[in-house]
Symmetry: C2
């Protein structure tokens, strides 16, 4: 049986990306590797829609989140975090570890936050030096309006806007510079459909200024060292060379297809899944579902783990379980990576069959035809 | 022209390791990945000669060095470092960043350190909580006698023994448990002939006890989280799955060949290079050269950069330049990774030809025949 990865990271990697990694053993201090790194950095800047450099680190997205904390803050700083799920929560946890006080706007899981909710907090804490946001909250499927939230920050405060774009960059429209995002982090195994192991950090000049006075301890995740390295054509530390070669190929593929076309594709796939769920009586978990990941509530009569096992063992399809208190209560389907319309038809067909196996009552084929209707409308 | 990597990391990766990485897209929370991770962890324990677990991190060796500092010390601790080169120096730098006082035994570059030099320092600083050592100092080619130095520590002190085994594990005889090494770090792109991007940390129970009271800030490099993850069959953060698949294949190859046989091979290759250098009037940089990397002094009449360029452009061979103040003054040849006796004959032949091109006077073929004599003796 073929294996199909519809998890929100790792995502399906195209064959040509794997092929590009074979024998990609450039020495990290060679002219050839420098050329590769510079090419990838330019591609990443285009992906993040920024004129500033984007740094590539060898670590997971979490490592890049930690880098976004330790490079731009000072011990004793106060920051604001917006927490609407497991990843929003992580910003405050990271801040606390480094002696930074986090004031948190708590958002119920599955909901988004508005500028109207954020602004009073900004007014109440004019000394906050940074605001930490999550674009696509992978644990709930909610997408936050970064343009609006960043706008609210800049209107009220001098704080840096630091965004977790891990499951959104390359998937959802994102304009780092235009939206006034000072720091945005992402990872290789999401929208850039490369195997895990690389993370990216885009940084504004305002943020670099702050970095100069930051006093938090750092070495491996020191972005100043990474920036100096990139200026000379190298990484600060020995990088995952094969993954960078794969990333270059993946970005070639993405830009050949057109970034805006990929954004549109994710939106169509997400719309299709939402229509499929509705057609067979399934509820979405998020009140404001986004286009990167869809969290579908598992009907209370069905055990979520059994459903996922049926999908995996019966049809070779892997989606993600809920995390923490949502374990077994939702499943999460990604609209990113190397998946297209027909993969989504296949997934919805498997979802129907697995639900049917679990005793859920509905007309077989109803979800698949809902997906087809979405596609037919999209191409009209 | 074929490309041949004789640098002390990245090292040459065998074709089967690259092949194992293609389509290795296991979800890091799948039973299949858990089985892979557990298998790799057992193999690593055999590689490190330890009964304790060995953790795999997605980062470079430097990240693992930082992990060895931030997980086992407290702010204000005093530690002893032995600094005989660029990597020994790094331990003290890392300590300083985290508010740990480093008392350094300064060893002239190219020389080793004896227990007799270390013991007085241990007596003078009985409050030192850790001693940081380097097994193979990659910048100079010197190998330190870890068994003897660790023995001296344990005789005099309660301090942890923390060792940089980055360019030595899998290359030189190393017995983590028998030598009383509490923490040993290494990286994937050296003795384990896997592409860069993974690092390993072996940790004794004594070290874990210290970790419990350590108060240095950490998150991505938190070894407690990595240990808890491994106990459940996972990594703490999304790992470089493809590299772990490659590593598993590389370790299969290493153990099929026999770890002790690989150690013996490195020793033979190092002996061959030393004989080759002597045969054509080249000096070694290290007073006590080890068997992992050989640093050869470039004759003062020759520009080191020109020589390396001749090797690279004329013969497709890449060795490492000297670092910092040794740039252009030495070149460094590795005896690790996927290289064998005939590769070394090829390299020595290229070295002769490049030196000849640079005007060095010697009898062409003298170094190659010296290599052959070493091999003939080794098989007698």
């Amino acid at each position: 049986m073929k294996s199909r990865l519809l998890t929100p990271g790792p995502t399906q990697v195209p064959e040509n990306v794997f092929t590009a990694m074979v024998n990609a053993l450039w020495h990290p201090r060679s002219a050839e590797f420098s050329a590769l790194l510079r090419a990838v950095s330019s591609q990443l800047a285009a992906l993040f829609k920024t004129n500033h450099e984007v740094l590539t680190l060898t670590c997971s997205g979490t490592g890049a989140m930690e880098a976004a904390v330790v490079n731009f803050l000072r011990r004793g700083d106060k920051v604001i975090t917006v927490d609407g799920g497991k990843f929003g929560e992580r910003w405050a946890e990271l801040a606390g570890i480094y002696g930074v006080e986090a004031v948190t706007l708590q958002v119920p899981w599955g909901e988004t936050a508005s500028p109207e909710q954020l602004t009073p907090l900004l007014r109440q804490h004019p000394d906050a030096t940074a605001v930490f946001l999550t674009h696509s909250e992978t644990s709930t499927g909610v997408v936050f309006d970064i343009a609006a939230l960043a706008g609210a920050v800049h209107q009220t405060s001098e704080a840096l806007v630091i965004v977790d774009g891990i499951s959104s960059i390359g998937v959802l429209p994102f304009y780092t510079d235009d939206w006034g995002v000072d720091v945005c982090v992402s990872g290789s195994q999401k929208g850039t459909m490369t195997p895990p192991g690389l993370a990216f950090v885009a940084t504004s000049e305002r943020a670099w200024k702050k970095a100069r006075t930051s006093d938090l301890p750092r070495f491996y995740l020191d972005l100043g060292k990474a920036r100096d390295g990139l200026a000379a054509g190298y990484t600060a530390w020995t990088p995952a060379v094969t993954l960078i070669a794969g990333l270059h190929e993946a970005l070639n593929t993405i830009f050949a297809e057109g970034l805006e076309n990929r954004w549109a594709k994710s939106a169509t796939l997400a719309r299709a899944i939402r229509a499929a769920a509705a057609a067979i009586g399934l509820q979405l978990y998020a009140k404001s579902p986004g286009d990167a990941v869809t969290a579908v509530s598992v009907p209370s009569t069905i055990d979520g783990r059994t459903l996922l096992e049926r999908l995996r063992i019966g049809y070779g399809v892997r989606v993600a379980d809920g995390q923490d208190r949502l374990k077994g209560k939702i499943f999460r389907v990604a609209h990113m990576g190397d998946i297209d319309q027909l993969d989504t038809v296949g997934f919805v067909s498997a979802m129907e069959l697995a639900l049917h196996d679990c005793g859920w009552q509905f007309e077989l084929g109803a979800a698949v035809s809902a997906v087809q209707r979405v596609y037919a409308e999209a191409t009209d």
